[in-house]
Each structure stands twice: as structure tokens, then as C-alpha cells.
Symmetry: C2
Subunit: 332 residues, 2 copies
Amino acid sequence: MRAEELATPALVVEAGALGHNLRVMSEALRGPRLRPHVKAHKCTGLASRQAANGHLGFTCATPREVEGMSAAGLGEDLLLANEVLDPARLHRLARLDARVTVAVDSDATVAAAARAGIEEVLIDVNIGLPRCGCRPEEAGPLSEKARAAGLSVRGVMGYEGHCVGLPDRELRAEMTASAMELLESAHRDVGGDIVSAGATGNYDLNRGATEIQAGSYALMDTAYGKLALPFQQALFVLATIISVSASGYAVADCGLKALGMDHGPPELVGGHDVYLVSDEHLTIGTVSPLQVGDRVRVIPAHVDPTVAYHERMHVVQDGEVLDAWPVDLRGW
Amino acid sequence: MRAEELATPALVVEAGALGHNLRVMSEALRGPRLRPHVKAHKCTGLASRQAANGHLGFTCATPREVEGMSAAGLGEDLLLANEVLDPARLHRLARLDARVTVAVDSDATVAAAARAGIEEVLIDVNIGLPRCGCRPEEAGPLSEKARAAGLSVRGVMGYEGHCVGLPDRELRAEMTASAMELLESAHRDVGGDIVSAGATGNYDLNRGATEIQAGSYALMDTAYGKLALPFQQALFVLATIISVSASGYAVADCGLKALGMDHGPPELVGGHDVYLVSDEHLTIGTVSPLQVGDRVRVIPAHVDPTVAYHERMHVVQDGEVLDAWPVDLRGW
């Protein structure tokens, strides 16, 4: 099938750009130095490609992602980099035929993990982003409580999300280093082999982590596209022009239910301006004439919440659809 | 099951508020005066309730919504209020055991509908929102082309989306009236029984339409909540506090993949401030003490793209889960 025959809106992944991104990252961070984050693509088809590149440990954000990765035979070393209290889900994770490590940052999350039969944890440390994680000085005592509860503590994790998108590379590096000092200090108190942190934006700047949790690099978006990283835009939403106005705008069949909008509106290949995003429509100012029936490629501002709206992504090369990968890790 | 036992994040619909909203709307717009728009809830379970209130015609935004409504036995009179060119989908719609009317606004969409065997259309007229729809003066000639192509033209539709959210009720009424003058003028040229337009924001102000396409009124969101409409907030995202910081914030397990963000961040029942929305986290400033494990209710800023992220909505009364309705009209 040709890409232009796909029913729209459709997620399209350019095989060449994806292959480039996977290769560049794997050359920079070999094997276990990268723990790819599946939340960015929610797709075991893509995760299999990352595993084939030598990355056998993965980062997950939800129990569903962990369960789906395990079911796909990708369960060699799954880190749930998030706090979970739900006993039923934790029980299911503990019973998977997979190595599962969960993040804990409080007495309550330690107790929930231990009660559910989870065997391994990381101490999640807050290193500047106002989100989960204990204070660095609490990490040591919490690790003792975890060990006392029978849990094996593999080390620490943190997420310097306030640094990873900074446009200035030097500032990004400095801020990353400051954040990582906090995580390394916590690690000295906690012990273990793992210091897990980082993202696509600072994958080559974070020197303190033993493993980097990058995810967006595989598909990319306009936010990370602004950082002069060596990754190419691989993901597009293919849309059809369904209406053209004499007033100089056109309307594509791709809207708020096909695009994560928290980082703002998407951009278009070809430079057309985005005027308006409605539930199922994208109104664009046209810089070149567009006809009803034409196809346009839309570049999401934020890859993660965009992919989460779609049932599958189509892998395309030279206009030919090579494969359709289910976005099979959606939900919780 | 009690609502507090639901795995989170979870869409929760308060049965009392939903019943109130359905009743108030049905008293204002009886039977065919309302053509509920299913794009707001994407749920045949909820649509069945609307049908039980006497509204047997529905508005859809995607072919999938039309097919799903037909499969659920709700196909008495389905309007696809959107332009579709895809021959395969149009063929499927034409073969449904349902009355299907599609919007057309150009020679290309008329030709596509006729070729696929679609029998009935509305002429979609642009009445001020920069989106689909022909110019009012083009509507008459387009209806002649449609009839010449063998299509039955049931009338006109438009969407005054630039008016429906205006905070000032008088201005909303005036702008609606101006927009509807354009649609009524087109209707005089086109003929047919139907003048379809309107939304929750001006359901009682739009005097020119023969039927109102309101959808959000059933569940509501913070955007429409600001307009002093007689509808209650019925939809919430239930989330669990998974982390509490000594710095005065807490983190809930509900983020960008559970919330449409185009209208901005959500609000919280209880008045907690929203600091940060991440893929799977909501960082909130707490106005009252929150503990790890507490539940919070999050009110989406925009109902449509919020619901589209979820697999089901749970109908709740007095804290008891009465039903779980699949969000079965997702996708395209």
C-alpha cells in the first residue's frame, strides 16, 4: 500500500529517519547506557527495534506499559519510573514473567510495593522538577526502610525535566550537572548499581547517570526539534485537505483528537501556518496552493500525548507502507 | 464497586448531574429540535440515554462515529457534519443499515458522496468560523450540482463556533443571530427541511436553526462552565495522589494523556492550584492537606479531547459505580 492511500488522520513514521535516530542514539549510548522510555511511543513494535539495537532494559511510565512490554517478550529489565499505590496492579506486576523494578519515594509506596510482592525498587529522588521523588537527604533513610521491608534497592532515579528542554546547550549542561549532584549525593547514601535519569534533550550531557531514560529521540517533535539535536523528525500525522476557502485558508482532517496540544499547535511540512485547531480540523494558511484531496504532513509539538491518541503507526519508506505497528501500550 | 476502588486515572460521570443536564436540555429543545453531537462523549451508552430522552437524530464528526452509532442501533438519522473524501469510508457509510446524511461544501465532496452511493447531504455553509463550509452565495449553486448528481439535499448546516463561547450572553446572542442570517440566506437558496447549527453555548439563543448540534452539555467542562449555563459539571477525571512534597505540593496520577490540553490546564474540585501537567502527572498546590493515597477529582478544560483518551467512563451515584460505558466511538 502507498502512504497516500492511508485513511486519514494517520500516524506515519519515516523508516529512514527512525533508523537514523535509533543508530545515532545507540552509538552515543551503547547497550545498557540507554534505557529507552516507552512512554514516548507506547509501541512494542518500536521497542523491539530498540531492543535489537542492544537496549534490553526499558523505562515505563504506567503499569499497562510494563504489562504490555512483558507480554511482547521485552521484559528482561523493566523500570516503572513512577509511583504506584494500587495493590491490584502492583500484584499483577509482581507476577509477570519479567524483571520489574518500581520507583518508590515514600513510606506508603515502599509499603505498597513490599505488600504486593514486588522484589526490586529504585529510590526516586526529586532533583529540581516539582513532581515525584523524595528529597535527596531522605533517600538514604528510605532505602533502609525499603531493605527492611524485604525489597532489593537497585539504586536511585531522578528526572531533571526542568533542564532537558533548555534552548541554550551550555545552560542545559550546567543545570543538568547541578541536578545530577543531588542525585549522586542521594546515590552515595542509597547504594546500588543504578543511577537512572536523563532524557533526549540532554542524553549526551548527563555524565552522572549510569543510564539515560530517553524516549522522544526515536520519533521526535517540534519541541525537541528546536534543540539542534542530531535526531530527525520521524513522526508525522498524515492528513487530507477536505476544504479550501477562497479566503486563502485550507482545512485538514486532523485536530485536537489526533494531536497533543500542551506544547501548542503543530507545524506543517511545507511551512503552512496553523490558524485554528478544532476537534477534527486543522485550519491552515496556505503558502502554496492546496486542493481538496491533497495530503499534508503535520509535525506534532509533543510526541507523547500525540501518539497516545492513535491506534497504530504506519512505517513508511519511499512512500510505501512497510508495516503498521499497533500503539499497544495505551491506557493505564 | 465503590468509586474509590477504581483504578486511576479514571473518567467518572456523576449520574445525578448527567440526568439533570439531559433533562434540562430536553425540556428546552424537545425531540428533533436537538441533534446531540456525539463527538463530545464518543459513547453509545450515553447516546442511548439521549435517545431515550426523545432525540433520535444525532450529529457525528467522523465516519467511525457514524458506524459505531449504527452498530449500536442508534442509526435512525445520523448526520456526519464533516467533509469526507475517502471512497472506502463513504462506501461503508452508504451501506449501513442507517439513515446517513453527510455534509458537502465543494464539487469534490459532492462528487465523492455521489460516487460512493450516499443518498442524502446537507450543504455545509461557512458562517464565520474559519473552517469548512462554502460561502453562503455558493450554497444554492452547490445544491443544484448535488441534486444533478442524484443526491437528495435535506437543507443546510453551519457552525458558528466563533460565537458559542463568548462570555457575554448578549454579544453571544447578537453574533449568533448575525451568523445565522448567513445560514438562513443560504437555506433560502438551497431549500430542504433542515437548518442545522448551534452548540451548547448558544442552544437557547440560536433561533434560526431547526435543530441544534449541542454535545458538551451532557458532561460539561471548565470552558463551558464559565458561561453560566444551566448545566452541571458531570465529568471528572478521578486521580490518586501518589506523592506529596514537603515543599507544599502534591502529585496526582493523571496527566497529558488523560486530559485535552488545548483549552489550558484542568481545575480541581477543592480549589487546589495546578502547577504542572506532565505526561502522567498533575502537580498541584494544595489548599488543604493531602496524603499519599488520597483521591482528587479533576475537571477537564475541554471535554471532547479529554474523553477521546479514555477507554471507558464510569457512571457513579452516591459513590457507587453503577455502570462502565465504553468510549466506543474513538478513532476515525
